[in-house]
């Protein structure tokens, strides 16, 4: 490239500043604040120097800033390698590069670094706004390339041309997106950030751990039912099952897992698919109880469903659940022993209550449980998001003193009392309910739907779900949290039924986001196969996809060429023939400049091909006549076209 070392004009450097800003700005939410500030300052001062036409700072100064910035990045991330530190360094260097950008070669480096930074946004987020911003940034960067190659172009013209180019690329992008063979799983592993806090259920529960989720609108998962969804109070999404209790904290017991169901399903199942947001844990959620497991999932001895790897990406799976089940065999004595364990010395009053209930009802589990649920219903218990703090014996404090609590208080104390009465019992956490989005029909389950309930073992019937919350606040399971909480309690904004407009907007927005997740981000090998089958491709293997890709791209190219040809045919026949003449000479190395007059070009051509000088002069004279003389004749045009057709330099 002959222009590579040519220097840039002021407008082009402004373009570069804009391009660098466009590449860098969307990354600011993920960069350390001081780095964002440093890069912004660098960009602003570069633009200011340019505006004031002040000379650039010396190279050692820029290098010093680069070294200081790199040390800062090293300290901040404890490394200079890896995704985050790498992106931070690129963002810094992009801004500093502008201080030494003088030639076209430097300018191209800036623009391509900008393109790379656009990609790096997707390390952090793949949402719709990020995609829109990326496309806009790509237009800006492309416009910068246009401006670099057309020193005199007006900014609006550069942007328009870049927009047209990106718009023309979009059909190709879509074809590639749909047809490019997908590989199951990502092409390369992205380093994961460890310890990123994600709200959601955990593998342990203390009083307050569920209620702190209750105000979160964050989406836990979305469900699409293949038939009518079950009633709201049947939507128990089983999650971590907590068996171990140390007197205060319930924790998951590492269950043995297998692919065979430990129970037998009865009746008709409910088919649905779940799109689970990543929660960095193993467990999957399903309606109680899953009958047909999704591929790559296993079931635990606690009836919990687990993935083989922690869920670091959005995961979509199909399940069939059955409301009625019966155990295949008697539960192992080990499981039952653990389900009766209570730490000694803790919560003496609750244990006394349990023993009293046990002897009163002669160890009849159903009656004991009914008695306990009746107590919750009849005694002045309150279902609240802001319970008073509890002491060391928190189950005792709750049952006999404060009597104000959230679902985890009720579930925990119920299980403690059941165990004290000699009935194997455990706490099940998960989500209860959800909300159907009327726009796309998906059931949306949010963190606010997090719930804890209890399970007791009934010999012959298996594990039976008992939800103490339903006894004290039936609205919680029949409708939602807002319906169950006393007036005046803070509730998640979106559950507030009064806020109809907000809810309508949110439904629409969520439907769009869900569509994006399902069809863009979730477009994996399976989706691709299903879609292509639906579109009539018999066997969507990679060969046929590749062939379809080629054919469609070819057709698209033909369409674009046909469009160009139409434009071409609209131009003056004289100009068309003249361009043909120039094209023939271009093959001889005589490239016509857009600003070169016909006579100059003719002379240049004649001196380059002396053997053809006569023909060239005749053609040139005819062109002059046809284009610049007042009288036109059809004969001249015919002759002109004929001469050009037979012209062979």
């Amino acid at each position: 490239m002959a222009r590579a070392s040519a220097s840039l004009n002021q407008q082009q450097v402004f373009w570069l500043c804009a391009a660098a800003t466009g590449g860098f700005a969307p990354l600011t939410p993920w960069l350390p604040w001081w780095l964002s500030a440093l890069s912004t300052l660098a960009l602003l001062s570069r633009a200011f120097l340019l505006w004031r036409k002040t000379p650039l700072p010396p190279a050692w100064f820029v290098n010093l800033i680069a070294v200081i910035g790199s040390i800062g990045v090293g300290f901040h991330y404890r490394t200079l390698l890896g995704k985050d530190a790498g992106v931070a360094l690129l963002a810094l260097f992009l801004a500093l590069k502008l201080f030494e950008t003088k030639t076209h070669r430097d300018a191209y480096a800036v623009v391509f670094l900008g393109y790379f930074l656009v990609l790096s946004q997707f390390f952090y987020s793949q949402s719709i706004p990020v995609a829109v911003i990326s496309i806009l940034t790509v237009v800006l960067l492309t416009a910068t390339l246009v401006a670099l190659n057309r020193a005199q172009a007006k900014p609006a013209a550069s942007l328009r041309l870049a927009g047209v180019m990106v718009a023309q690329a979009i059909p190709f992008m879509l074809i590639f997106f749909v047809l490019f063979p997908r590989i199951a799983g990502p092409l390369w592993g992205l380093p994961q950030d460890s310890g990123r806090a994600i709200s959601g259920l955990s593998d342990s529960m203390v009083p307050g751990s569920i209620s702190k989720l209750a105000l979160s609108d964050a989406i836990a998962f979305r469900v699409r039912f293949n038939s009518a969804p079950p009633a709201q109070d049947a939507l128990y999404w089983r999650g971590p099952v907590l068996t171990d209790f140390d007197g205060r904290t319930w924790t998951i017991a590492r269950p043995g897992v297998s692919t065979a169901l430990p129970y037998q399903t009865l009746g008709r199942g409910i088919e649905y698919d779940v799109t689970l947001e990543p929660h960095q844990q193993y467990w999957l959620f399903a309606l109680e109880l899953p009958g047909k497991l999704p591929a790559d999932a296993v079931i635990g001895s606690d009836y919990g469903m687990y993935a083989k790897k922690p869920l670091r990406e959005r995961f979509r799976y199909q399940v069939t659940s059955y409301a009625q089940t019966k155990p295949v065999k008697e539960e192992s004595s080990e499981v039952l022993r653990v389900a009766l364990e209570l730490p000694s010395g803790m919560n003496p009053r609750a244990r006394a209550l349990g023993e009293e209930l046990g002897s009163k009802h002669k160890r009849d589990a159903i009656q004991i449980a009914a008695d306990m649920l009746g107590r919750f219903r009849n005694e002045p218990f309150t279902y609240t998001l802001s319970p008073p703090p509890l002491g060391r014996h928190d189950v005792d404090d709750f049952l006999f003193a404060t009597r104000r609590g959230f679902c985890e208080h009720f579930a925990s104390s119920f299980v403690v009392v059941m165990r004290a009465a000699g009935i194997p019992a455990r706490v099940v956490t998960g989500y209860q309910g959800g909300e159907i989005n009327p726009i796309d029909g998906y059931l949306v389950v949010r963190q606010a739907d997090a719930h804890a309930w209890a399970e007791i073992w009934l010999s012959g019937k298996g594990w039976v779900r008992l939800d103490p919350t339903a006894a004290i606040a039936p609205g919680r399971v029949e409708k939602n949290l807002a319906a169950a909480l006393p007036a005046g309690e803070p509730i998640p904004m979106l559950l507030n039924a009064d806020n109809a407009l907000l809810r309508a907007v949110r439904f629409r927005l969520d439907a769009v986001v869900n569509g994006w997740n399902q069809w863009v981000l979730g477009y994996d090998a399976n989706r691709q196969r299903d879609l292509l089958k639906a579109l009539g491709m018999a066997s969507p293997d990679w060969q046929s996809m590749g062939a379809a890709l080629m054919v469609l791209c070819g057709l698209l190219m033909l369409a674009l060429m046909a469009w160009t040809l139409r434009q071409w045919q609209r131009t003056d026949p004289v100009i068309r023939a003249w361009r043909e003449f120039q094209r023939k000479l271009t093959r001889r190395g005589l490239v016509a400049q857009a600003w070169e007059g016909p006579r100059d070009y003719g002379l240049r051509a004649a001196s380059a091909c002396p053997a053809k000088a006569g023909e060239i002069a005749e053609i040139e004279t005819l062109f002059e006549t046809l284009r610049y003389r007042p009288v036109q004749s059809a004969d001249a045009l015919r002759k002109f076209r004929y001469l050009i057709r037979v012209f062979a330099p």
Partner: protein
């Protein structure tokens, strides 16, 4: 922009150019440009160092075209009356009688025009624009053709009054003559005195013939595609960041007139984009101002190279 030397349609123009090239050596293009300026009914500003032949050029053109010639040396004490003329009381008739000044000639050399005060400058420039002189309430037309060649010394600006942009605009073209090349200079040194050569010359044209040529130049055909090209060039100067202000419609008209005269000298009755490119530096150079500074010649070359011929 390299236009081949063609024989023009009018043998008289060829003769004028040929003879002039014998007197002023190695300056074919400049002589051609000066003649185009005259035939386009414009005025010429020559900006160059002393001694490169500005006066000789003016003198030569006047002589060859058969026009009367006057030279006005501009100095800081020059008064408008020194240019336009003065009324003197005539005792015989008992009336004031107007004594026409040097401006009442067909070819005027205004030497070192930037040495005079703005008042004197504007007297000349007004006469150039109006082609008439109003003195003591009476309007007197200037002879036709009327052609002013003003010279300016670009160096030594102390004690001068540089022409403001609005007055530069009165000149259709601004050119430089430049030093002759080695061969031409040698021939000049070994040859006869140029002044004597000029006085020995016979006029090749007359005032009437020049007027006819000016008329003919106005009728050179400009195709729509060519007008598009002039418009594209002018519009480009109005948007390009290199220039402070773009070319005015008057400048565009000047481009058309100059290019027509140029095409006629080339022996054509129609305009080509090359004509526009040939006269562009002379017509646009003094009307544009660079935003940043730098070389106007390069900026004009870039201007031509960044506008595609429609």
């Amino acid at each position: 922009m390299l236009t081949p030397k063609t024989r023009s349609g009018s043998p008289s123009i060829d003769d004028v150019l040929q003879t002039a090239n014998h007197i002023i050596l190695g300056k074919e293009r400049e002589i051609r440009m000066a003649l185009a300026c005259l035939l386009a009914r414009g005025h010429l500003l020559i900006e160059d160092v002393p001694g490169v032949g500005k006066t000789t050029l003016a003198h030569l053109l006047a002589k060859l075209l058969g026009l009367d010639f006057q030279r006005i040396q501009f100095t800081s004490d020059l008064l408008p009356a020194d240019i336009l003329g003065v009324s003197v009381f005539d005792r015989d008739s008992g009336n004031f009688r107007f004594h026409p000044g040097p401006v009442f000639s067909s070819v005027i050399l205004a030497d070192e025009v930037n040495r005079a005060t703005p008042k004197a400058q504007s007297a000349l420039l007004e006469a150039m624009e109006e082609r008439q002189v109003t003195a003591e309430g009476k309007t007197r037309p200037l002879p036709e053709p009327f052609f002013v060649i003003a010279t300016q010394n670009p160096a030594h600006q102390i004690g001068t009054f540089p022409l403001p942009e609005s007055q530069l605009d009165r000149f259709l073209m601004r050119i430089a003559i430049g030093y002759p090349d080695r061969a031409a200079e040698r021939e000049l040194l070994s040859g006869a005195d140029r002044r004597e050569m000029i006085s020995a010359l016979q006029p090749l044209l007359s005032a009437q013939a020049v007027l006819e040529l000016q008329q003919k130049a106005m009728h050179v055909h400009a195709a729509p595609a060519l007008i598009d090209y002039v418009q594209a060039l002018v519009e480009h100067t109005r948007h390009a960041p290199e220039f402070d202000a773009g070319l005015s419609p008057r400048a565009a008209l000047g481009m058309m007139a100059s290019a027509r005269a140029w095409a006629m000298i080339e022996g054509r009755d129609h305009l080509l984009p090359e004509d526009i490119q040939a006269i562009l530096p002379s017509v646009a150079g003094h009307r544009l101002k660079l935003a940043v500074g730098g070389d106007m010649t390069i900026a004009l070359r870039q201007l031509v190279e960044s506008v595609a011929i429609p």
